[in-house]
């Protein structure tokens, strides 16, 4: 999937993946896509909740080999 920026949140635990995502999105423009890779299993629910509450779109969410990959489209 196309993305404009990548955030490596591997090894970080709650709430850091969300805080870093928020920070990364702040530096992007509307419609751009951020790719986030995390290892915190809690981030799956948290990313959904973040998207729902902030209006950014969680385009996809996938797990492979203990890593979670998210694509978040900025509002």
């Amino acid at each position: 999937m196309h993305f404009d920026k990548e955030l490596d949140a591997r090894g970080l635990n709650c709430p850091l993946p969300i805080l870093r995502t928020k920070k990364a999105l702040a530096e992007m423009s509307s419609g751009q896509v951020l790719k986030v890779v995390a290892t915190d299993p809690g981030s799956v629910k948290d990313m959904q909740a973040f998207a729902k509450q902030t209006g950014n779109e969680l385009v996809s969410s996938a797990e492979a080999g203990g890593e979670f990959t998210f694509f978040m489209k900025k509002k």
């Binding site: 709650c14 709430p15 969300i18 805080l19 995502t21 915190d40 973040f50 902030t54």
Partner: protein
């Protein structure tokens, strides 16, 4: 757009209890909440420049597992059930537990208190220190980090009265 508001009172001064107010405040800010944290009594320890006073004690805290953050997996899995009476008489037990806790925090990719504090302030979380308890404990404004406001209960109510979520921690 009507922004949601989160008001938190932070009253605890131990390393473990320093986390919940800062985690919720920073996350709230990331979700678009306007956030204020009112630090009072022992919660003032969280916003001191020197936070070496933030410790964690397993003494009298049956909910705290005592596990080692190093060594082989079987060793890390052991829960050291040390009786309160022994914890109380071993000098430096609390400091040792704090060192182990900090190591565990780092191993788990959990942020440090300083890091969360900075993230909160960068996200415009407003920190208010309770002036009455600052005086009561003999602290000086110089003892605390920059960017604080000092106020009393009425200051807290001004914001908390309009908040969507209000937590006493």
């Amino acid at each position: 757009m009507d922004e949601k508001k989160l008001a938190i009172i932070a009253t605890k001064g131990t390393l473990d209890w320093a986390y919940p107010p800062l985690i919720l405040a920073s996350t709230g800010a990331a979700l678009g909440y306007t956030v204020q944290v009112f630090f009072t009594f022992y919660g003032l320890q969280i916003i001191r420049k020197d936070i070496s006073g933030l410790k964690v004690s397993p003494l009298g805290n049956p909910g705290m597992p005592m596990k080692m953050p190093f060594g082989p997996k079987w060793f890390q899995g052991i829960n050291w059930n040390i009786p309160n009476a022994i914890q109380a008489i071993v000098p430096g037990f609390e400091s040792l537990a704090t060192v182990l806790m900090k190591k565990t925090i780092a191993n788990n990719g959990v942020a440090t208190i300083e890091e969360l504090r900075t993230l909160c302030q960068e996200a415009d979380v407003k920190f208010i220190a309770c002036q009455m308890t600052v005086d009561l404990f003999g602290f000086d404004h110089d003892d605390f980090i920059d960017g604080l406001e000092y106020g009393g209960a009425a200051t807290f109510f001004e914001f908390a009265g309009e908040s969507d979520i209000c937590l006493f921690i």
